[in-house]
């Protein structure tokens, strides 16, 4: 580990005194290598072992492109709705004290805790035309289940807590002074929020949206039960991977998987750089 040896003097000093650096580094690197890095590297090698043109040819497929479009479009829209709901929720949880707040806070975590298949069948059950909510929506002429709207609904359900948990701590850390100053200078509540509070929260909102979007693109269990799964219309990319696998069309499955994998890695490193730049910029 030559890079470790290039540590700053303070770091080296700390290393000599505080135990567990090499032990914990070893455990972390070993498990990351076996569970995360090796499968990704080996799979990428398989993808590149065949001719690259064959891989590109797999992508030139109407059904595949539609599935990717459905996934990315629903995730973009679901994350937008989820983040918009997350902002007031995070505000209430971070700033107000009221009876039942702990329960409300626990409710937010429910989609993260529920098995995705359970979320999936429950949403389908509630929002299908014969379900409790679906029936009343039907009388308004709105169909959710087995429509593109159903996919978005499932994604809002699953990704909303991610955004709340990113934005909430930032709101909790807000100082009161700038808002009091704005109020003293005669700004309305709405103007104070838009011009003082929102800029302070912008970074966390971007991070929350990105996490929700990335999770939404890959989400499977909670979506497939309510999606309808019609090719070209409501078939999501992860489902098409499973379908191709069941037909032993490994090349087709791998082509979709590589697109999604590259996307996940890009989001992750984009966020990592975004946060590093932000912390270096000081705030």
């Amino acid at each position: 580990m030559s890079s470790v040896l290039r540590m700053t003097r303070v770091g080296v000093e700390r290393l000599r005194v505080l135990p567990g650096f090499f032990g914990s580094l070893g455990v972390v690197l070993l498990l990351l290598a076996v569970i995360v890095v090796a499968p990704i590297v080996l799979t990428t090698r398989i993808a590149l072992a065949g001719s690259l043109t064959a891989l590109v040819q797999e992508l030139n497929d109407e059904r595949l492109l539609h599935a990717l479009l459905v996934s990315f479009r629903s995730a973009a829209f679901g994350a937008l709705l989820g983040t918009s709901f997350a902002l007031p929720t995070a505000w209430v949880l971070a700033r107000y004290q009221f009876p039942g707040k702990d329960i409300l806070s626990a409710l937010v975590d429910i989609p993260l805790a529920l098995p995705t298949a359970v979320s999936g069948i429950t949403l389908a059950y509630l929002y299908s035309p014969s379900g409790a909510i679906g029936r009343s929506l039907e009388s308004w002429g709105i169909q959710v289940a087995y429509q593109p709207a159903g996919i978005v609904l499932a994604l809002v359900f699953v990704t909303f807590p991610l955004a709340v948990r990113v934005i909430e701590p930032v709101i909790a850390q807000l100082e009161e002074a700038p808002r009091e100053a704005a109020a003293t200078l005669g700004a309305s509540d709405i103007r104070t929020f838009l011009e003082v509070t929102f800029p302070e929260l912008r970074r966390s909102i971007v991070v929350g949206y990105a996490l929700a979007f990335a999770r939404g693109v890959g989400e499977y269990g909670s979506v497939i039960f309510i999606a309808g799964n019609m090719p070209m219309q409501t078939e999501i990319a992860p489902l098409l991977i499973v379908t191709r696998l069941e037909q032993f069309d490994y090349g087709g499955a791998l082509a979709i998987a590589m697109i999604m994998l590259i996307f996940s890695v890009c989001v992750l490193f984009g966020l990592s750089m975004f946060e590093q730049r932000a912390s270096r910029g000081g705030a």
Binding site: P19, V28, P39, R95, L107, I121, A237, S264, S272
Partner: protein
Amino acid sequence: MTRASSTVTMGSSAWIVTSIVGVFLTVLLGLPLIAIFMEAFSEGWGAFFAAFADDHTIAAMKLTIEVVLWTLPIVTIFGLAAAWLLSQFRFPGRALIVALIDLPLTVSTVVYGLMLVLLFGRNGTLSGVVAFFGFEVMYATPAIVLATVFVTLPIVAREMMPTMQERGSSEELAAMTLGASPVRTLVFVTLPALKRALTTATLLALCRAVGEYGAVSVVSGKVRGRTNTASLQVDALYNDYDLQAAFALSALLVCVALIPLVFKVVQAGRRRAQGRLAPLSQGESQ
């Protein structure tokens, strides 16, 4: 410590916002929960318990317990090591490790399942190696455990990091100065201090492990009574139009999922009770 304004006296607009959020959360998140239990008990207690007498359901629950028992120690040890490493040390490559730990949160679980199929399935890259050692990975418990470990990997690490960061390392340094070995320090100083946070983190990992569906559905082969986990069995029952049984099993899984949430609510209540007492005891000591 500069206290941020966490307790603002609530004006009327604050109550309006809170009520809207409350109604929204109840409809979006609360109703599904109620629906699960209503459907599970729609045919009475007898039918509810009868759902768990099914051989395939029993086998699925056993498999899930087995998978969880394999997964939890691995991800807990990983999480503790990662949280200690990342909260106490600054070193080159740290950002890369953070990104790799977060990767399972953004990679589709189905994509990971596909990777395991390509590596361990028939003609897979590593299937020769595995066959040499004479055990089955694909469409068997090892693949299910591997998939579950992948999706659960970030949870303990992410939960423990803020706690360890806040705690610092002065207690460990004191123990070392007094001549304790690193292992002794870990067992007698670090772990007891982190008991609560570690319990919450492990419970959350348990939740995620029990609930994993996408990756497991790809690698398990979904053989009923043999490689179906509880989550997959919910899917199987639902596809059989046996709604009552599907929701009965779901209700059980929901109860498992609620354990960490209830634990958190109780902890929050206890912390608040302690917070109310704290100023008084400080006053006494002065």
